[in-house]
Amino acid sequence: MATTAAARPRYRGGSYKARSTTSRALLYGLVFVVALWLIGPFIWLFVTSVSYQRNLLARPLPFVPPEITLQNYRMILGLVRFHAEGQAAKILPSMLNTLIVASVVTFVNLVVGTTAGYAYARFRFPLKTFSLFALLFTRMLPTIVLIPAFFVMFRALGLQNTLAGLVVAYCSFTLPFTVWIMKAYFETVPADLDKSALVDGCNRFQAYYRIVLPVSGPGLVAGGAFTFMLCWNEFVVAQVLNTKPGTTTLPPVIAAMNGQVNVDYSVIAASGFLGALPAVLLVLMFQKYMVQGLTAGSVKG
């Protein structure tokens, strides 16, 4: 037993036996590698965003950046004039567009998707199984196949190059998810809660609205934060449907900057980091609820 342990380091899920030194060293080594892989690239994005391009080009690359600067952020926030300020000036307005679209879609999803999720979790009604299957089907559906139709229809409806059009298009991939996540969440809320509310004189809607919804904060946060994140990060739909300057969201603007030959990578990195920050902070803030909501929604689906 001792020889095999020495030859093949062992570590285990339970911790009721102390680990050997070798297995502990192996575990910490693996943890370090995983941490480096997970967060290293994002940290490097930040490092490049506070560096000058000339220092990134140095070969061999110094381990500690020789200079730190906020110049790239000043450029994209429009505080300094530089040769690509036309590109950089689009960052903040497009961030505002993204914020508007993501907030409206999240609101719509929470109102519409939550009520549907509640009904799916609680009641039996005709075509329930069929519509649940249809919902699963839409989750497996590529959004991109819908975009040509949106393109032609939005042109006819005057929704092309509008934020309202993006809201409509984004609901196509967020709403089925929200219904599913909320259904999974309401299944964890005891049904006795609404039943006792009915006994106490609420009607069915009041039981949902006044009794169940107020204790469903974690589920709402999970569904809402996930929807917001999807919209904040979406690229293809916005890129295709909103081509007029000033009407699009942040990811297409960053992608367009990346295509410019005369813009330094460090400036693009700054806009990428700034653009990524809201979604990352949101997810980290609500991680507990999101992980619960998403794993429950996925595993049951």
Partner: protein, 324 residues
């Protein structure tokens, strides 16, 4: 369950409302907005796209047949039957892209599942800082794929990439590696970058599954003399089977659809060597505005996704999980 509920007759205090809906009609009322919205933003565009794939769409045309509704004008394009599909299937680029897509999907599914499972095994151990590590899991996953591509450019670029720079600093490399110069290498970079973005979610699912496994099973296996790998093989893996199925399906479908990373990293190049079906459909539709063949390509992609989901379902779930 519902039988245990006191009926209004047993509860005299109950105030009867003016409108009392039956359970089914109340449920229908709650579901209606979502169902109508999903029909409007998913089913209708889906059907219209299907229709477009059988027509000679011309976006420049402003006259001709059209549906006029409330002052809006939805052009009706001419039905051309299977012409778009035949045109797509006779294009060698389509078949090249299809084989490349299958390679991409296969490589990604294997890499993302193995990495996701491996990371979950590490994070399931006890060590100081484990909650922090689990938070960090969410970082790659919560980034826009545009930013994901961007930050990997910062690492892999030939001129200013950190990888080449640090490898030279450590003396492990004399020149610089051009990751995107060769098509096959670029395709594999796409697989790995997409894995970085997606595997953390697989890890979350695996971790959730591992936490639901009873500690007693491990203790019993250990008493029976099972080593780490035996416990993994005979306790962990069987319990994770439904989640493994889910991860495989999600990874496969996501890999078929991956588009934004190609946009930011390779644009399908060099020389179409990273062009997958989704990229080909995207380019045909929105770079060349050939909506007919474009939607035809995208519809074959949709068919592939659904086929794969169906096959997995039959193969894995039906055979091993009769109760699930």
């Amino acid at each position: 369950m519902s039988l245990e509920i006191p009926t209004p007759l047993t509860v005299p205090r109950l105030r009867l409302r003016a409108v009392r809906l039956s359970e089914a009609s109340f449920a229908r009322l709650l579901v209606a907005p979502a169902v109508l919205a999903i029909v409007a933003v998913v089913a209708v565009p889906l059907a219209y796209s299907l229709w477009l794939s059988f027509t000679d769409v011309n976006l420049l045309r402003t006259n001709g047949a059209a549906i006029e509704l409330f002052g809006m004008r939805l052009p009706l394009y001419r039905w051309v039957g299977l012409k778009n599909y035949l045109q797509v299937f006779s294009d060698p680029l389509y078949w090249d892209s299809l084989w490349r897509t299958l390679y991409f999907v296969g490589a990604f599914v294997i890499e993302a599942t193995l990495v996701g499972l491996g990371v979950a095994l590490v994070l399931n151990e006890r060590f100081p800082g484990r909650p922090l590590m689990r938070s960090l899991l969410l970082v790659p996953w919560s980034l826009s794929r545009i930013v994901v591509g961007l930050l990997w450019i910062g690492i892999l670029d030939f001129e200013f990439g950190a990888f080449n720079g640090y490898m030279q600093r450590l003396g492990l490399l004399t020149g610089s590696i051009a990751f995107f110069k060769d098509g096959f290498s670029a395709l594999n970079v796409l697989v790995s970058v997409y894995t970085w973005n997606q595997a953390p979610f697989a890890t979350l699912l695996f971790l959730a599954g591992m936490q639901s496994i009873s500690e007693d099973l491990y203790a019993a296996a250990e008493v029976d003399g099972a080593g780490y790998w035996q416990r993994f093989r005979y306790v962990t893996l069987p319990a994770l089977r439904p989640i493994l199925f889910l991860v495989l399906v999600l990874c496969t479908v996501n890999a078929f659809l991956m588009l934004d990373l190609i946009y930011i990293l390779t644009m399908g190049g060099p020389a179409n060597e990273t062009t997958t079906i989704s990229w080909l459909g995207f380019q045909t539709s929105f770079a060349f505005f050939k909506f007919g063949p474009g939607t035809a390509i995208l519809y074959t992609l949709t068919g592939l996704c659904l086929l794969v989901t169906f096959i997995y379902h039959r193969l894995i779930l039906a055979r091993f999980e009769p109760e699930g």
